[in-house]
């Protein structure tokens, strides 16, 4: 039983933004796998829910002619895993999606909900960080587009203004074409677990063995997902070698703001960042067409 006071179902985006504008108490519910858990724990009481699940325009994944990929926020994790556009163009996102929850959760949980929930452990977020994803937000008053890095404000806090709905997750062609990527979810169980650390690395290789670009997105290495700018800057233009990769792993730690909790110590998380960044990078290199580095 949930403490639900009202349950509205919006059929269109306009209807949803209207309702939101009219009632500031509404909580958006997509798959509900975060919202309902919060209600279960009493963090949300007497909820007035606005379901957006039936809004057609927020569903599905498209690739525009210029190569831009638009992911509807209502896309479930199962859909992300199986989607041909994702599989062909950004398979690393499918990997990340498959690591999330279990089948029943993936069948209902949405990628938009994953992001808007604001958790640092969100399995899609580190990859979307690495992909420089941008988010389109719409309210009755209009729309704006923000880079995902700016969207995350703090633990559980995102830059979603009153009345706004996330309507598109946008990945530009230049941010994925020619890249190979790999996601490592480090958790205590192989499935049905929240990441102790999530590491998404994408990279692009030129002249067979030179890093044209490396991007590292981390989850649970700080209060929000984050990028490892220092390591990325170091990598650019470097020849691929064990030593470079080791250095990238070391530098990645510098961008983290891990803390000790009952789940893992700061020291351990940092150790994992160093180790797993290297492992993810090595896998990404192969997927980007590079040679395997033992």
């Amino acid at each position: 039983m949930y403490n639900i006071k009202e349950y509205y179902e919006a059929a269109t985006l306009e209807e949803a933004t209207e309702l939101l504008a009219a009632n500031p108490n509404l909580t958006i519910i997509a798959g509900g796998t975060d919202v309902l858990i919060k209600m279960h724990h009493g963090q949300i009481e007497k909820a007035e829910l606005l379901s957006i699940r039936k809004i057609k325009s927020l569903q599905g994944i498209r690739k525009l002619e210029d190569g831009t990929i638009i992911i509807g926020p209502l896309t479930t994790f199962t859909q992300v895993v199986n989607d041909p556009v994702i599989k062909d163009n950004i398979p690393v996102l499918a990997e990340a999606a498959l690591s999330m929850g279990g089948p029943q959760i993936r069948n209902v949980a949405t990628i938009g909900g994953n992001i808007c929930n604001g958790a640092t452990s969100a399995d899609s977020a580190s990859t979307l960080f690495a992909l420089n994803a941008r988010l389109k937000l719409q309210s009755k008053l209009g729309e704006r587009v923000v880079p995902i890095q700016e969207f995350y404000l703090g633990p559980g806090k995102v830059d979603l203004k009153a009345g706004e709905i996330l309507t598109e997750i946008i990945v530009a062609p230049g941010d994925y074409q020619g890249y190979g990527g790999h996601y490592i979810k480090f958790s205590m169980r192989k499935v049905m677990d929240i990441a102790t650390l999530g590491v998404a690395v994408i990279c692009k290789i030129k002249e067979r063995n030179i890093f044209a670009d490396v991007r590292i997105g981390l989850g649970v290495a700080g209060p929000t997902p984050l990028r490892c700018r220092e390591a990325e800057a170091f990598a650019k233009g470097k020849t691929i070698s064990r030593e470079t990769i080791a250095e990238i792993g070391k530098l990645a730690v510098k961008s983290t703001k891990a803390r000790t909790s009952w789940r893992a110590s700061k020291e351990y998380r940092e150790h994992l960042v160093e180790e797993l960044t290297q492992r993810a990078l090595k896998a990404a290199i192969v997927k980007a067409g590079g040679e395997e580095i033992a």
Binding site: M1, R189, D193, I194, W262, S265, L276
Partner: protein, 763 residues
């Protein structure tokens, strides 16, 4: 002995009901006007309620009753699911009331409401105003035993619940005699049963004014008695019904909800009330497994013989006694048969703390002590440079050994064969050679551990079992037992036993799976892996009695002496030739309707088994350790058991699979965590508590060494709990083999492994 049904993998008798959704569990008894009970829990680990105001809660529409500690009987009672002891000295510790004015752990029940629905009940709880005087929370046994620490229960000095131990031989002399002395300190963590069905019970008052409780329990007859005691009412005024149970593993060998549920229905004029715990509640306010710390000192001779062992143990029993006092003792008793030695001294302290209540859980103290002893022996073997398996073999028990303290005798023992089988299954020698010189970040290793255990509780506890059989008109029978099916498959093996004795197919044995204290024969219940062995005796006895009556009846009908007859394939036959005399169904019909001789055949038998049988077994494990991340993966694992004759191989395998799965969780991942300052639970849910999923468990190999136990009618011995016991130390020993790092603490989760590897200079 050749059996026709015993020893066969027949399908479970309750399987169809369970795969179609027809099986009824306690929560499925839904009545439209059923009220909902909910508990107000203390947010503090240690506190005294100064004041409580329930007036606002009472006034909330939909609230039917509010109860506080002031409304419950002023009777202290014990909750452990043990048979009642006539001797007051042997009774369980009576240390709690149904609701309390002194909170002893975060989650302790202070008050309760009964309301028309769940949300109203939840709302009402919020309206209860409580003023607490917060006391110092004592979250470790060390803190609790400290001089001057506040007392959790007034009558237990230094918060020590019990310190009962033993000494066999003279330990100091043995140490003098030994060539080497080894010492280790090891400890286990608090884990939880996580049976899939949470604790739930429903109660109402029937038209005779008796309290009827439908409840998810392993021990219906004990529940009746304890509810009677807790409420201070005659035990016969309580009727307990046990429908299907969705797992227990010991957490339901305890009386957790029933007294309060009974009180709730009384508070609302006997209307039906359901009290169902959420998973979060279930994980903190039912029972947990004791975390135990061991200090072990062992004397060994040059040729690798164990001379003497001294074990000091500190067991954290949490806020109330439950089974605590007897678990330390049971663990210390059942392991010692495996390696008899001159001297053995066991000094356990069971200590109260302000944490959830520890109680019975699969293995009842044995997984803890087996982890400690089998890890310790591994360390010794390595230090002595003896092959760990050879070291154990030098010290193993033999048939004929009599436990010097309780007189229990080893009458069947297949431990050596178990070891050989396990070695072969895992390809021990071949892999040992292969893994000799490993490099790289991933290292493999092999480990093993042995265990001994008992079949039931004799001579500590009463081993009473009851069975009733009724022969129907068509030659089929009804079987009623007081023992409880909780998933382990007991109903099915009982049906096999009856079918075997009576010469009928299993589907002619209708097992009444529901226990109802008003009508089922008395049995103490499902625990101590006792049912197949102990209740099996009563079932066999009842079946033999029915058979005897049938053959006597035929004698009357035919003048063929009973001793010349037998029953085979539903026919009465001549024993010597097998020639059919008449169908059993015809006899059965006559027992009902013969106008002169009719006398329906039944048997109602109890058996007080003053005997026990030792079981043995071993786990062999192969692991791969990631030196960089601290992740341990079990690649292969085999359990080999001597549980005597296996009545149903498929069910037996299932027990082993489940036990091994639980053991893997115990070894690598599971632990209940509490805030170190406040004692608040941190991971009391199934996402944060790392019980293994289907992806976390490798293929599990199972084998049996079938000895024949002469004290059992079918040669069988215990199997339910044992599979869990040796798993964690085998994995731990495999990790030691792979990395050279000797873990002394469970679980070996990545964070711990990381820390230990740093310490060892591996990272």
């Amino acid at each position: 002995m050749a059996y026709t049904v015993v020893g066969k993998s027949i399908n479970r008798v309750d399987a169809v009901a369970k795969v179609t959704g027809q099986a009824k569990y306690t929560g499925d008894f839904i009545e439209r006007d059923m009220l909902v009970g909910k508990i107000l829990r203390s947010p503090y680990a240690h506190a005294i309620v100064k004041n409580i105001d329930v007036s606002k809660a009472r006034a909330l529409p939909g609230v039917e009753a509010v109860l506080t500690y002031a409304d419950v009987p002023k009777i202290k009672f014990a909750t452990a699911g043990h048979p009642y002891a006539l001797d007051p000295k042997h009774r369980d510790k009576e240390d709690r009331t149904i609701l309390t004015s002194k909170a002893r752990f975060v989650g302790d029940a202070i008050a309760a409401v009964v309301a028309t629905d769940e949300l109203t009940a939840a709302e009402a709880l919020k309206l209860i105003e409580v003023e607490y005087e917060v006391l110092e929370p004592l979250l470790t046994p060390e803190a609790a035993m400290r001089e001057g620490a506040p007392l959790i229960h007034d009558d237990c000095e230094r918060n020590i619940l019990s310190s009962y131990g033993y000494e066999i031989g003279a330990i100091e002399e043995a140490f003098q005699e030994a060539d080497y002395i080894f010492e280790d300190e090891l400890e286990t963590s608090i884990v939880q049963h996580c049976q899939l069905e949470n604790h739930v019970s429903c109660a109402y008052v029937d038209s005779d004014g008796r309290i009827v409780i439908v409840t998810s329990t392993q021990i219906p007859h004990i529940v009746r008695r304890i509810v009677g005691q807790a409420l201070g009412i005659p035990w016969g005024r309580v009727r307990v019904i046990k429908p299907c149970v969705g797992g227990g593993f010991g957490s339901k060998q305890d009386v957790c909800l029933e007294p309060l549920t009974a009180l709730m229905t009384l508070a609302v004029g006997g209307r039906p009330v359901r009290l169902e715990l959420s998973r979060e509640e279930c994980m903190i306010d039912t029972r947990t497994r004791h975390a135990i710390k061991y200090k072990i000192k062992t004397g060994v001779s040059k040729d690798g013989k164990l001379i003497g062992m001294h074990i000091a143990a500190i067991s954290n029993t949490g806020a109330y006694a439950s089974h605590g006092h007897s678990i330390a003792m049971a663990g210390g008793t059942k392991f010692r048969i495996l390696y008899p030695m001159k001297a053995l001294k066991y000094e356990p302290l069971t200590v109260y703390t302000n944490l959830p209540v520890a109680g019975a859980m699969r293995g009842y103290g044995s997984p803890q002590i087996t982890f400690a002893v089998e890890s310790h022996l591994e360390n010794i073997a390595r230090k002595l440079g003896i092959d760990p398996i050879e070291f154990r073999k030098k010290n193993l028990v033999n048939v004929g050994y009599v436990d010097p303290l309780n007189g229990n005798t080893v009458r069947s023992c297949g431990i050596r064969e178990c070891i050989e089988k396990g070695k072969e299954l895992i390809k021990w020698d071949e892999k040992k050679a292969r893994y000799k010189n490993q490099a790289g970040t991933k290292r493999r290793g092999l480990g093993m551990a042995c265990f001994s255990y008992a079949s039931g509780t004799h001579p500590v506890g009463l081993e009473m079992a009851g069975a009733r059989i009724v022969l129907n008109q068509d030659g089929s029978v009804q079987l009623q037992i007081g023992a409880t099916e909780i998933g382990q498959g007991s109903d099915t093996v009982f049906a096999q036993m009856v079918a075997e004795v009576l010469g009928i197919p299993v589907d002619m044995v209708h097992v009444i799976s529901t226990q109802d204290t008003d009508i089922t024969p008395f049995d103490t219940g499902a625990y101590a892996s006792r049912q197949t062995y102990i209740t099996g005796m009563a079932v066999a006895k009842a079946a033999l009695e029915v058979k005897e009556k049938i053959l006597d009846f035929v004698w009357g009908m035919t003048d063929i002496p009973a001793h010349a007859l037998d029953i085979k394939e539903q026919n009465i036959v001549y024993k010597h030739s097998g020639e059919v005399v008449m169908p059993l169904a015809e006899v059965a019909l006559h027992t009902y309707y013969d106008t002169v001789f009719a006398r329906p055949i039944t048997s109602d038998t109890s058996n007080n088994a003053r005997i026990n049988a030792f079981v043995f077994g071993v786990t062999f494990a192969e692991v791969e350790v990631d030196l960089k991340t601290g992740k341990i993966e079990v690649l292969e694992i085999y359990n080999v058991h001597d549980s005597g004759k296996i009545i149903n191989p498929q069910l037996a395998e299932g027990q082993v699979h489940g036990g091994v799965g639980m053991g893997i969780g115990y070894a690598l991942a599971e632990q209940m965590l509490f805030d170190e300052k406040t004692g608040k639970p941190l991971n009391n849910n199934l996402l944060d508590y790392k019980m293994p999923t289907i992806m976390d468990i490798p293929d599990i190999g199972v084998a049996f060494v079938e000895t024949f136990e002469p004290t059992s009618p079918f040669g069988c011995k215990a199997l339910g709990e044992p599979p869990t016991i040796p798993v964690a130390p085998a994995i731990r020993n495999a990790v030691l083999d792979a990395t050279g790092v000797a873990f002394n603490r469970l679980p070996m989760n990545p964070q711990r492994v990381f820390e230990k590897f740093k310490e060892a200079g591996l990272i």
